[in-house]
Amino acid sequence: MLIVFFLEKDLSETKRSLIEENLKKSSLLKDAQFVSSEQALEKFQQNFPELQGIIDNININPFPSSFETTLRDENISSVKILVFIQEISRLEGIEDVQFNKDWVEKMESLSRLAKAAGFFLGGILILASFFIISNVIRLNVFARKDEIEIFRLVGATNIFIRIPFLMEGMILGVLGALISLVFLFLLVKFFPLYLGTSLGALNELINFRYLSIIQIFLFIAAGIIIGLLGSISSIARFLKV
């Protein structure tokens, strides 16, 4: 997205370079280009040759100088963008800012929607995996309920009986996590290629990316926990004898 900061007329060199410095410092920007009022005029003349007469008539250059800046692709949080714009506008010498506010806000609400959908789907998938694991283990427990009974009758503690099933739940959880990590990897690697640029702005919104190492560990840990909980919930009623 393009953001244009218009400068006051006859801005001193030092003030201008201060603004430039601030723009260059920002991690949100890919690029910040100074456009002098002469360049702006030239551009206008190139783009609208049929309006040449108007310019000739007013006799002075009506175009202020400006910084034209472009955002890095991944910066989609509109809050961040707005905060950034406000910060820069507060600097001495900035007269006006031009950017597509609508677009920013639309992106923001879209991304909020995408997040909500993500959490919703994630919640459903977590519940689903919990129930799948707990049912798989329930079937196993059921198939071995005579054995569990014998274990209880020869003096096995509940934990002794549970351990193999807990292991099973854990292994299922870890396997599930690993498989989905592989899928995520394939998705991130090949899906954008497949879609190419047809995704356009959506690409920024969906923002395919790998998980960080910490996230991967958390992900696997969550798999383990879901597996354990699924397992615990399915043995309990067979430990009554």
Partner: protein, 221 residues
């Protein structure tokens, strides 16, 4: 050691599988429980190791009311007991050896010790040569002996046996009884359900007669 106070057990009305049983068993006693089939012998044993709860009454073992022990602590009671089930209850996908060793494994005994004691228990019932076979490869009598080995391998304080010689020929039955007697001589309390009169005549000390859930006679020979 074991006290039963007014034990009643009803599976389905109107029949009482146990009908007001009162019983005091001392430490080191050697009891036979006898009576016709369906008289409640198995049910009596089941309430003692708390596989089932009586409908009414209280059971005290070693000064503890076992009906009040929560499920997750009942293993402590079971570890003091050896039980030969009428239907054996072997682990059919585990080998004979493992069926016996499991009792020691749950106690957390070192592996070497487990091997030694499991082997000894199987030798006592004359099955050590089949310890790597599966129960399904054994005859009923042999399966019963596996169940017996499992019941005695951890030197239980209380040995409960439900028709433990039902599938054995007389010589083997005598051997098993001699084994139980030995365990009894080492201080264990033993209760054996049987309707084998010869065994009772030969080994009987204290005998309980059950009939339709009632304890109709106690005899001490």
């Amino acid at each position: 050691m074991i006290d039963l106070y007014h034990i009643w057990k009803q599976y389905q009305p109107p029949h009482w599988a146990l009908n007001d049983i009162n019983l005091h068993v001392d430490k080191g006693d050697f009891y036979f429980v006898t009576g016709p089939s369906g008289s409640g012998k198995t049910t009596l044993l089941k309430v003692i190791f708390r596989e089932i709860f009586p409908t009414q009454g209280q059971i005290v073992i070693d000064r503890r009311n076992i009906l009040r022990i929560p499920d997750h602590k009942i293993y402590k009671l079971r570890r003091t007991m050896g039980i030969v089930f009428q239907d054996f209850r072997l682990l059919f996908h585990k080998r004979v050896y493992e069926n016996v060793a499991i009792v020691l494994q749950v106690l957390g005994i070192p592996r070497k010790e487990i091997r030694r004691r499991s082997f000894n228990a199987l030798r006592m019932v004359n099955l050590h040569h089949k310890m790597w076979e599966y129960p399904s490869q054994l005859s009923y009598g042999e399966q019963q002996r596996v169940a017996i080995a499992r019941a005695v391998v951890h030197n239980p304080k209380i040995l409960l046996a439900d028709e433990p010689t039902g599938n054995l020929d007389p010589e083997l039955a005598t051997e098993i009884m001699t084994l139980f007697k030995e365990i009894n001589n080492q201080g264990a309390t033993v209760i054996i359900c049987t309707h084998d009169r010869d065994l009772i005549r030969y080994f009987g000390e204290k005998i309980l007669f059950l009939y339709k859930g009632k304890l109709i006679r106690k005899e001490t020979l």
